[in-house]
């Protein structure tokens, strides 16, 4: 049988002391000490729909040595400036009056929530493989309806399943704030986190916060198609910044902004950059530290807000070592400690954000599960406050089921160190997957017309076609050539994505032709076979081999 749910071991314990969680450390480090270094938490914030003070979740003393974020009033749209607080929430302040009885809030009684317990079976570190998560080797995490009242946990179904705040529940938010501090430690004083229902929604909401009809934003020249499709109906255009293998070029960004002609462009100079700096979709490009610093400098120069969309941040892989024929493969060893692991990650824009001009969007989608619909943003208090207010009257916080399931896993079971172990497991898994697609590409793709760079992060493999060598290059457009190769690949039984679907600005002139393949989903043998088929298709299209076989 599975061990008892970890919540049981909390019975009667003050959650504000060093937590008695079974320490799932598999690597020596101090990461779970965070629980012991927590500040005293105000228990009122564990209650139903209780507001939380996220700054109180930070570890250590307030960093008064650090600058405060810039104010963004002149960057906000009317919608954002007009947003008021909920008048009903004014009443909440009276709830702390001793003995008061509230007939105020229109919240249903948890008596009528038809869920007595909720139990998930999850992996126990270091046994993360799917096949290891069985009733005998995994751990069952159980939430009861009234665990808070019975002091079995600081979070329960009666709280999680009632109405909440737009920020999400304090119980999970505290863990998120700590994780963010551990990984990024933003270098200004008044940063804060608030949950989103995923970064797709966070982008929709932040765009409405800073842009309005007729304006334009910047992004990588090839970018996440949904981002363009989110902006477009708002009347917000996207201007593509040229890229190399390390992502967008700060020089070109400066050139665009410096030479902006509002009349000619029909829009004021962009004040927002949307970027996926790590394992970018679709190109797989990852900006190094220097590149990020250079981009940040341009953003400062032109007072641009950076929307840092980072779903793939923890899909950074082991350094790639090209295999030399005949030689023994020299694969670097995995990080030996949590600190080594964190140090091996490229620094985020957030970690260098002295102005508070970065809105970082994190998500559990790629590292836990997309269906959780839980993410968070990190930004200055002022921006986070506007976001929360918007969430209160639109998305609200994430699903209570999702929040309590994540809380049980991340706070009560894994803790920070177990989560880093999990992320390291994911890192090694993606590293293996990348080797599969790179090996297959070496073997099956015709290098005279296809080239690529080994991705260092993310899910995507980006294949460049030397389209000028295509037999119809002189008579057909780039899009026609792309379509021909795409269809030939489908005929061969391999589906990859057209690069043109990822144009930041489809109306701009393009002279490159790419296809995107992902190594995230399919099993190894299928990845190999799909690349083999794609190779056949490319050879056929380019007339390299008769009948392509």
């Amino acid at each position: 049988m599975a061990p008892p749910p970890s919540a049981i071991s909390m019975e009667g314990l003050d959650d504000t002391t060093a937590a008695p969680f079974p320490n799932p450390l598999t690597l020596p480090l101090e990461v779970n000490d965070i629980f012991g270094r927590r500040n005293k938490a105000d228990k009122k914030q564990w209650g139903v729909a209780a507001p939380s003070v996220t700054s109180s979740f930070k570890i250590g003393s307030p960093r008064t040595d650090r600058p405060k974020a810039k104010r963004w009033d002149d960057h906000f749209t009317d919608e954002t400036l007009l947003r008021k607080g909920s008048s009903l929430k004014q009443a909440a302040k009276h709830l702390s009056k001793p003995g008061i009885i509230s007939l105020g809030g229109g919240l249903p009684s948890s008596e009528y929530f038809p869920f007595a317990t909720l139990t998930s079976l999850v992996p126990t570190p270091p046994h993360f493989a799917e096949s290891d998560t069985t009733p005998s080797t995994g751990t069952e995490l159980r939430s009861g309806k009234h665990d808070l009242a019975t002091e079995r946990s600081i979070f329960d179904l009666s709280t999680a399943l009632n109405y909440g705040q737009g920020s999400g529940a304090a119980q999970l938010l505290r863990w998120i704030v700590e994780h963010t501090q551990l990984v990024h430690d933003p270098p200004y004083r008044d940063w804060a986190c608030t949950m989103s229902i995923g970064s797709t929604s966070a982008l929709d909401m932040t765009l409405r916060m800073f842009t309005t009809k007729g304006e334009k934003i910047l992004s990588e020249d090839y970018t996440f198609a949904s981002a363009v499709q989110t902006a477009e109906p708002m009347g917000v255009g996207v201007v593509g910044v040229k890229m190399d293998a390390e992502g967008l070029l700060p020089g070109h960004m400066a050139e665009i902004l410096g030479g902006w002609d509002a009349v000619k462009m029909g829009a004021p100079r962009p004040r927002v950059l949307y970027t996926v700096p790590t394992g970018q979709n679709p190109t797989g490009a990852t900006m190094g530290k220097q590149r990020r610093q250079d981009v940040y400098a341009v953003a400062r120069q032109y007072d641009v807000i950076i929307l840092e969309d980072e779903p793939y941040y923890f899909l950074q892989m082991q350094p790639y070592v090209a295999k030399t024929a005949g030689a023994e493969s020299q694969e670097p060893p995995p990080p030996r400690t949590h600190r080594e692991f964190l140090d091996a990650l490229v620094p985020s824009f957030l970690s260098m954000d002295v102005d508070g001009r970065v809105i970082r969007m994190d998500s559990f989608s790629k590292v836990i599960a997309p269906g959780s619909r839980v993410g968070w943003i990190t930004a200055s208090d002022q921006i986070v406050e506007r976001y929360r207010k918007h969430a209160d009257v639109s998305t609200q916080g994430p699903s209570g089921f999702s929040q309590i399931i994540l809380f049980k896993l991340l706070e009560e079971h894994w803790g920070h160190s177990g989560y880093l172990d999990w992320l390291l497991f994911i890192r090694m898994e993606y590293t293996s997957r990348r080797e599969v697609i790179l090996d297959a590409s070496e073997k099956f793709l015709p290098k005279e017309v296809v080239s690529w760079v080994a991705p260092s992060a993310g899910m995507f493999f980006w294949m460049k076609m030397d389209w000028r060598k295509h037999p119809q290059a002189g008579t057909q457009s780039l899009l026609e050539l792309e379509d021909e190769i795409y269809n030939t690949s489908i005929e061969e039984g391999s589906l990859v994505m057209k690069g043109s679907w990822f144009y930041a600005d489809p109306s701009a002139k393009h002279d490159t032709l790419f296809f995107r393949a992902t190594y995230a989903a399919a099993p190894s043998d299928k990845i190999q076979e799909a690349i083999r088929r794609f190779g056949v298709a490319v050879k056929k299209s380019f007339g390299l081999v008769a009948n392509g076989v």
Copy 2:
């Protein structure tokens, strides 16, 4: 021990035949026959992120005898008209090609979802009381990660926790469509449902679909404060329509629309009515059938879209019978069959919507749990298609945890009949709660200055103050008097909500003074005590009793 999860009994069964669910009927009726009358379902739609054809979920033949919905192109905002489909989703059509291998979609592998099973303990009809939901009397519903592949269920964690469609998963959506047909049977041909992440978000999205900066919408004169706060930052004003005990007055609505002076009002004539027709928040008012027909007629006359926000629809209670002193109470018996139960409900706007001009917003918040963050809208195919497209690039579908937990409960455990049993249970519970607040009000409120109407639905008790009898009526404003009574009540230890917080248009002139109390949340003794305290406060404020005791 709990009985085995119901999913097990589905093993090897074709879900398209009459379902073998344990029939939890407690009342004789044909409701679960719906499962047997289902049309053959295309199994492809049970897959990861698979699109679904919601019209295929309707029971019976297409109603070609019914009119098609009006087209709303001339009502849509630019944002809605500009919204395109996702280019990436074009690729999905090739997935049905036999043998094709996809390296297309950027979906993570379910191998890396750290959840092997998810189990909820829920009530078994007819034992709905919280105290009856124990491991020995309730039922454990278990979802596995690969139940679909192993034919244990048509829905599993590997599907629910991956990316999905903005419409939500077909598995739960089918149940929702059937439920909607069972309860409302919209009288036009091309209605459809799509999930929302709750009606707060649905309102945000539908407002953006039909209104833009500088426009105005109509609503009840006192309305849900969040609705106003959602519209306000968009630059959309709300014009209040006068109400009586049955909600908004169609005559006044016609007067406003007929006499609209765009120049004077600074806005074109409103084309959207936002209404909560049943157990309205804050007034508790419920429109009868005739009232709804009259409002619908005015909406047709002025081509107005009706946003029917109906969280409280199933909080319709037993008919209220005033207690006569000395006489035996004559409480009407509960409905004896599901048909009687459904017939006892006031017809929705949706059920009389021959034009397809109603967007009905349903939610599980008040009848299952707010934290599920799952609701749905029902409207014409054209409107639903626009909504889904917006969801694809903003909210996405609801949490996968929420969806699979609801699917297990509603489809595999309760079925339609068990859910109606549950709703009947809720109806009787709220009826008891209402009696408590009405009895307490009879006993403790000074009738010379407080009056009320027994609510027939919802969570709210609306108390009218005869403010002209207040000692300061001549010298203080209405808002000052309200504030004085509110603060006195808090001093006495009772928190109720100010009516003015619910003004549709705070700038309009008001000459009524109300307070809202809810009987939904607190236990009986607390409700009684809070009303007693409020009575003391009112007497003090109005100088009815020295020192109020």
